[in-house]
Symmetry: C2
Subunit: 271 residues, 2 copies
Amino acid sequence: MTFTQMLAAAAQKNDSLLCVGLDPDPAKFPAHLHGRADAIYQFCAAIVDATADLVCTFKPQIAYFAARRAEDQLEALIAHIHERHPGIPVVLDAKRGDIGSTAEQYAVEAFERFRADALTVNPYMGRDSVEPYLAWPDKGVFLLCRTSNAGGSDLQFLDVGGSGTQERLYERVARLAAGEWNSSGQIGLVVGATFPAEIARVREIVGDMPLLVPGIGAQGGDIAATVGAAAGGALLINSSRAILYAGQDENFAAAARRVAEETRTAINRYR
Amino acid sequence: MTFTQMLAAAAQKNDSLLCVGLDPDPAKFPAHLHGRADAIYQFCAAIVDATADLVCTFKPQIAYFAARRAEDQLEALIAHIHERHPGIPVVLDAKRGDIGSTAEQYAVEAFERFRADALTVNPYMGRDSVEPYLAWPDKGVFLLCRTSNAGGSDLQFLDVGGSGTQERLYERVARLAAGEWNSSGQIGLVVGATFPAEIARVREIVGDMPLLVPGIGAQGGDIAATVGAAAGGALLINSSRAILYAGQDENFAAAARRVAEETRTAINRYR
């Protein structure tokens, strides 16, 4: 089963386009987890178990684990998702980007060590920095295209059309990703929810390719505009902090479930 | 002491612009290290001890450690460099790139957990994805600008000058990095040795900013052309495989030293 098929099956089974982002910040954990050596795993696993029937994917952000020497907890978390919630794909958010021989090492890290089903990758170094990941035929690769941060425009919004028709850098990335780079249909794109008009433009370029859209919730993106703009193909709408930190006490997982359910419902209203 | 000062002092003390890249591949290790749990650390520490008086920096590539669950060996290796060879800066090659709050986590990973003196960073997400690293005032940040791989041209060589004067994307990155992004003088750039004319163009744009140049040795870049093109400011010329795997047996470190010394001499001939 390819990543795209796995994603479609999970989205259908749970009637959901919601991706829960796992960005664990121990300073925001409820008090009863403070000081526990496995607090990151315990927190994330509780969120996962409380929301697994409401999502189409989980997306752990590796930096939150790496800063705290917690790669072992990330391994355990992804193993937990595969074991307890089989069929829910895991997108490892690591935004890797390097040349061929080094990219192969990152692919081993993501797909063999951590057992992720897909990985986020930075396109700045070009096609041969993307290809090594495609050697795992059942895995997915989400290329950064148009990111939701303020500085995203510094490069991504530059006109690369030369003296001809205007073409923004993010449009070129979309065109390459959907065309000559996507020999095997494993590529998706990351497009920020803060720019609905650009989500629509990307959808126009790439056809039904999966779009991973962060920026809903804490980052302020609009659900209705996002769902409308991305219509016509696979969509994953990520929410992290608004769900993870919905509750402050030992009932945090139940609070996370309530917000996840509300978010799924809000998304489905516009599908 | 800032990173730039530390780099200049090491380059002067060892009369060297050579950066030894530590990309440990256990399949290429000499037989006596096979099967050892700490083989990666032992191999790299031996290379470091054999070459530390010949280099201006060491540059470990994190993917080679992460693919093998060897972050602890990377921590031990960098601690070893700081303890045994104080004053030789360590550039962690991780090519991180993410938004502000996540970039802060990567900065903690690189500068606090691994105790690197500088980090390579991908500029695709723009200024606010670079700024968090600058909050460590004694650390350096090398932004990818023009990379030495074949696909490097896919995006980096695009003309972003609109209908006005031609400006390649890598030139824009250089201009931003040397201008409005570089509020604190902590930024350097990565420019591949396979494109000497573009090294010269970057030097023209950025003044005396440090340039980290991979692609010498196994990747085929020309030393004379590189040194000439980069004249006018700080320069680090990286060589990895040609030095690491110069020898195949238990005398591998001595073989590495010979090649490192030849490379330093070859570089110095053109300074």
